[in-house]
């Protein structure tokens, strides 16, 4: 049984088609990164999973329950860190956790949860005076109540400093080790790369790719950059290289050439440079930066 199953989910808001038929399966126990630029449909997808919003078409099943009919049963076993949420400014951190514990009908100790997110010193302070990072930590602690089978984190790194982001990653990995499924959304690929088993990329309401990051890299043409050091750059090198099949871009810096090309074209690039009279002293391959990979899926006509 998959942790999350979306089947042909469509949703429009007025004229805006937020989701245009999304099919998605998130396996039990995996860490799944849900990527897309702002406005691509990430929040709508999560809102449908939580029954905040009802799909026009299609079905959503979460932890084996229908998202529409059995939402409370789903949320009993799910921990959520929502995006754009607010806390109760007149309630203390401890009262927030007590509320989550009462709602989930468990009997955990608020203090130990606060310790896990590093808020133990602020237990009796009102959330109204919290920084964005502290609010994020408190909401995360509330999400961890009841050892959920599914953690749903919507843009969890926003408002966290690098230290907080690292702690978040540790917590996510611990939860996954315990057996929880983790589903988290981000508009920045770099944040999910380190922890995710698989990622799904959504764009204009459609899922354009679901795979591991390595596989996504392989699938993107021009995925690698060849870096070649030469003794001197021949005058027409740039022009010659660009005319080769499989080469998309050439930049020259001093005696270093950076050539974006397909794997098959690499040897041809080196041969062409030598034919033009250059001596190649060194060459290596750089993986495409994640931003380029992300852009390849979310821009242009991928």
């Amino acid at each position: 049984m998959a942790a999350i199953e979306l089947d042909g989910v469509k949703k429009s808001f007025g004229d805006v088609r937020a989701l245009r038929g999304v099919d998605l399966e998130v396996e039990n126990g995996e860490i799944f990164g849900f990527l897309g630029p702002n406005g691509a449909g990430k929040s709508t997808t999560i809102n449908i999973i939580l029954d905040f919003v009802r799909p026009d078409n299609g079905t959503a099943r979460v932890l084996g329950h229908d998202a529409r009919e059995e939402s409370v049963a789903i949320r009993k076993r799910t921990g959520v860190l929502p995006e754009g949420f607010d806390l109760y400014e007149r309630l203390t951190a401890r009262e927030h956790l007590q509320f989550a514990i009462d709602s989930k009908e468990t009997d955990e100790d608020p203090h130990s949860l606060l310790e896990r997110v590093g808020l133990e010193d602020a237990a009796d302070r009102k959330a109204g005076g919290f920084s964005t990072g502290m609010r994020q930590r408190l909401a995360l602690a509330m999400a961890l109540v009841g050892d959920p089978d599914l953690l749903l984190l919507d843009e969890p790194s926003s408002g966290l400093d690098p230290n907080g982001a690292r702690e978040l990653r540790n917590i996510v990995e611990k939860e996954a080790d315990r057996g929880a499924t983790v589903f988290f959304s981000s508009h920045i690929l770099g944040q999910v790369e380190a922890v995710c088993d698989r990622v799904g990329i959504i764009r204009e309401g459609e899922l354009v790719a679901v795979d591991s990051i390595e596989k996504l890299r392989e699938n993107v043409a021009g995925g690698a950059t060849l870096v070649v050091d030469v003794d001197q750059v021949p005058d027409d090198a740039e022009h010659r290289l660009k005319s080769l099949d499989g080469v998309s871009e050439v930049t020259v810096q001093g005696t270093t050439l950076r050539v974006s090309c397909e794997d098959d074209a690499k040897m041809e690039v080196v041969r062409t440079l030598e034919d033009a009279g250059a001596t190649v002293s060194d060459f290596s391959t750089e993986e495409a930066p994640l931003e380029d990979l992300f852009a390849a899926y979310t821009e242009g006509d991928a």
């Binding site: 049963a73 959520v80 995006e83």
Partner: protein, 280 residues
């Protein structure tokens, strides 16, 4: 019992609101002031106390609904507009839990304000007025006033569940209060005028029974009818029996309790149905 968790959270949150404290203080000042004024104008003894009670009844009929609305209009819409509703509904609380929990939490706040006001009044009466205040009728007055408070908590929570804008929630709830308190009588006259063949009824004419029934359906009218009826049952003073009590189809003041109960249940149900079907 997730609605209990919501109610408890909501009560803790609302009771710390400055607005709520101000409104509660307002009511205490009103009741104590009423007693004080009575003394200042030299009203003493049993009959005087009844007079003060009658004046308080009129004042409470306006003030308590306003306090209930002030305490409750943000209940759902406020959480929706700030985003804390996302936290509330990420936890295993159903939307019914939210509406019921909100109603209970805010009702408790309003009830505390009303009871505190009445206790203050009791002390003020005891200190200032000679002769005995009929404790039983005073308590009866308090009970119906509490009920009126719950009616307007229910109405305000319901309106609040209809919208994500606290401004609209406030306008809607206050608008309904104005309808019941002031426009209802005008509508009643219009109905009578229409029933009378588009002619103004003459002085001393009796309204058709269904027009009286309509009048009785306003929660504010129901409140004063129910209170007079209950107080009359408790006070053994025949000359004080209400002369102008509404009795459409033989329905006496007790019918006011049913009307108020309906005004608690129906708005909650309507608000829930609307909230349940909304995309948040």
């Amino acid at each position: 019992m997730s609605w209990m968790a919501v109610a408890e959270k909501d009560f803790r949150d609302a009771i710390r609101s400055r607005l709520v404290l101000v409104l509660a203080a307002l009511f205490i000042v009103f009741v104590a002031g009423g007693a004080g004024l009575g003394v200042a104008f030299g009203v003493g003894g049993g009959g005087g106390a009844s007079l003060i009670l009658a004046l308080l009844l009129g004042g409470a009929g306006v003030l308590v609904p306003l306090i209930a609305i002030g305490v409750s209009y943000r209940a759902v819409a406020g959480e929706r507009s700030t985003g804390s509703l996302k936290v509330l509904l990420s936890l295993p609380n159903s939307r019914a839990d939210v509406v019921v929990g909100k109603f209970l939490g805010r009702s408790l706040v309003v009830s505390i304000a009303v009871i505190a006001g009445f206790l203050t009044g009791l002390v003020a009466f005891a200190a200032a007025i000679e002769g005995d205040l009929q404790l039983s009728s005073y308590l009866a007055f308090m009970v119906t006033t509490l009920l009126l408070g719950l009616v307007f908590v229910s109405i305000a929570v319901s309106v609040s569940a209809f919208t994500a804008s606290t401004f609209r929630a406030a306008v809607g709830a206050f608008g309904l209060f104005i309808l019941f308190e002031w426009l209802w009588g005008i509508i009643r006259l219009l109905l009578w005028y229409v029933a009378n063949g588009f002619e103004a009824p003459g002085f001393g004419d009796e309204a058709p029974e269904w027009v009286d029934l309509f009048e009785f359906l306003s929660p504010n009218v129901a409140y004063s009818e129910a209170t007079s009826w209950l107080v009359d049952r408790l006070v053994d003073q025949p000359e004080q029996q209400a002369q102008f009590a509404l009795e459409p189809y033989g329905l006496e003041g007790w019918f006011g309790f049913l009307v108020m109960l309906a005004w608690i249940v129906v708005p909650l149900a309507v608000g829930y149905l609307r909230f349940e079907s909304a995309d948040l």
